[in-house]
Symmetry: C2
Subunit: 405 residues, 2 copies
């Protein structure tokens, strides 16, 4: 049995190199940039009016209120050239280019236009540069505007759009397959006979993968039979990552390890000092990584978050894909048999300046119903047998923390 | 100009009633349940072995170590009936039904089978019930296992699968369209001429909508022309929510408000004491809500998060869709002209037991490049002109906070 830290080291030592691909801008939301993006032009590309108002020479309005002559209009999008003479204003809309000669824009609210006289009364003075965004203020041509490694959100899509980057290099996502094993499993539209239960792990695992932006292939239920399991695993090894639920424990019908060995897939670990998730298997051959996760629904879910998430995240190019960790105050005592680090369901609340961690009562690693009320996992260190209410504990916020708070 | 609180009240007062729809289990990830889900059977449906080992009568192993007779085997998924006599054990795998007569399961690790004699040595005693999950322990038939209002995550999909809920009632998502206005805008594959800039708001807004699980329709760029704008808006009013970027300000070419009035769309507010986002318009007719968001890229992004997110979230059935709010310690002084509540870009870090809020330097509401480095918005109250480093500030964590931390 190895420690969780050693398990993570072995995982990180065995990640394949990242591969780039070129995608259309429209498919890039949530992808990780595999290149620095440089400005292809100055932004703004011209001195730009920041407000609706009148472009003018600040020197002309020092003694405001003053009346100036309206010499024309420049609207956003106008290609016209315009020049402002002394004593003149030119009406501008937000985003319009500033006419030559002007050095400030007075707000509409501080001006009054008299159509009869063609004159504009400016009520307030202003400083040179007021309400003008100078050319290149946000970015000069050639400067880096997005860095490789950035996960593209809506903000970044706006930046890409600004610079016309209709295609960009991102890191490829891994191809992932999910396989579940167990003679007791039936599909969800079937009615359980005695001894049977419906397959649920395939769906929670697939959804966990999907939530990372990867569409996994579901390869079905495999019986506890070494030949059938071997055939299915061999079929899954053409993906980058194969996730197998069940069959990884120590029972005589847990064929996963022997099947992997027969297929020349090297087992890098098969027992980790973690609860739930002790019988988690991590293995690889030349082209694929294989995870064997425990068959209990909660164990399967937690093992994914602890072991598989960091791998899929890094394969997508994320530098820190692990669950977000916060420290908080335990609200109810917890106890365990020491020896393994436990990850137990909890509700984390941000409350009056501190995280409060409420353990969720549940009935063990089969109890997904109890577990599904949690939004976090408390980390219960393996060297402790009990933690009292009021003590500090570390917790991992689950990926859908915000919608479960 | 109304307060942000008043704006939120008017928004909440004008939300349409939620509508249910029935979807397949596979499309339900991220949807909000519109029904309570009841257990259609006991879970587990039978007394179940929690580990691989030997089912036995605890009374027989009180004086362990003892040797007992191996009377058979029950595997997970087996439909066989089996009964255990005194002095016997039956081998079971995790998930197998417990044979009649047995009241505990001893781990494989604490037992030794001698194939020659057909006997099993049990090394440790145990208590009645040990390593057995009794029928119904996780849920009894008829109990509520998921509540209406729950946003379905992978955990919940496992629960639905367990109970064979292949179709469920969820709240419909609103149909959303995005329209941008501005003579200066060109599409992203075009090269800007003098006075032009590429359209970026359509893409950030669409991505913001998309990230809420809604696929919006992009209706294109509309010129600053009342006839063209009227036609486009009339076309968008068959959606549940129409988001218009630009044209909502006070300039004479900002036609949005007059066009809405001509179309009998009631304007519920058009100026809010918020920065950025003052000229945000909220309007409705019998069937549609319309948002007019400022045209500056950052204003557009922030106004969406502050005004549109709560609406789309509630229309999807989320009870608390607003951005997650935390209090932290401001790391650098900030100042503003008082009068409006500001939402300014910041990086929020959880560090040594406290949130530390670092303002991000940027160049105003056009500067999406500077803004895109943030993962949070600091809330700068309208009655304050400055906040010193070390003071407590409230911040809203942006939706992709975890991947931007």
């Amino acid at each position: 049995m190895i420690s969780i830290e050693e398990a993570h080291r072995r995982i990180l030592d065995n990640l394949p190199p990242l591969r780039k691909e070129r995608v259309g801008f429209q498919e890039s939301l949530g992808r990780v940039l595999a290149e620095d993006v440089l400005a292809d032009m100055d932004v703004p590309p011209f001195d730009r009016a920041a407000v609706d108002g009148y472009a003018l020479r600040s020197v002309d309005v020092r003694a405001a209120p003053v009346e100036l002559e309206l010499a024309g209009e420049l609207r956003a999008g106008s290609e016209a050239d315009a020049t402002l003479g002394p004593g003149q204003v030119i009406a501008v809309t937000t985003g319009a280019p500033i006419p030559a000669g002007a050095d400030a824009v007075q707000w509409l609210e501080h001006a009054q236009h008299s159509p009869d006289t063609g004159r504009v009364r400016i009520r307030k003075s202003l400083e040179p540069g007021d309400n003008i965004v100078p050319r290149g203020a946000e970015a000069c041509r050639g400067t880096k505007v997005l860095s490789a490694g950035c996960t593209l959100g809506p903000q970044d899509l706006a930046v890409l759009a600004t610079f016309g980057r209709t295609r960009i290099n991102v890191w490829q996502r891994p191809r992932v397959a999910v396989l579940v094993t167990g003679d007791e499993l039936i599909e969800i539209h079937e009615t359980p006979r005695r001894g049977q239960i419906r397959n649920s792990n395939a769906y929670s695992l697939s959804a966990q993968v999907q939530r990372m932006g990867i569409q996994p292939d579901y390869l079905g239920i495999v019986r506890d039979d070494p030949v059938e399991l071997g055939r299915s695993i061999a079929g899954g090894l053409d993906r980058d990552v194969l996730i197998v639920s069940g069959g990884a424990s120590v029972g005589k019908y847990d064929y996963l390890k022997s099947v992997l060995q027969d297929l020349n897939v090297t087992i890098l670990f098969s027992r980790v000092a973690v609860r739930p998730g002790k019988p988690t298997v991590f293995a690889r051959n030349r082209s694929a990584l294989v995870f064997g996760l425990p068959g209990n629904p909660v164990s399967s879910f937690v093992s994914f978050e602890i072991f598989v998430r960091p791998v899929l995240g890094r394969m997508c190019g994320h530098s820190r894909p692990d669950l977000f960790r916060v420290g908080g105050v335990l609200q109810e005592a917890m106890s365990q048999a020491p020896g393994r680090t436990s990850f137990l369901p909890a509700i984390a609340r941000w409350d009056e300046g501190a995280w409060r961690i409420h353990p969720v009562s549940w009935k063990g690693s089969g109890d997904m119903i109890g577990f599904s009320r949690s939004n976090a996992l408390v980390v219960f260190p393996g060297d402790r047998g009990s933690i009292s209410a009021g003590e500090h504990v570390e917790s991992l916020l689950l990926p859908d923390f915000f919608i479960r708070s």
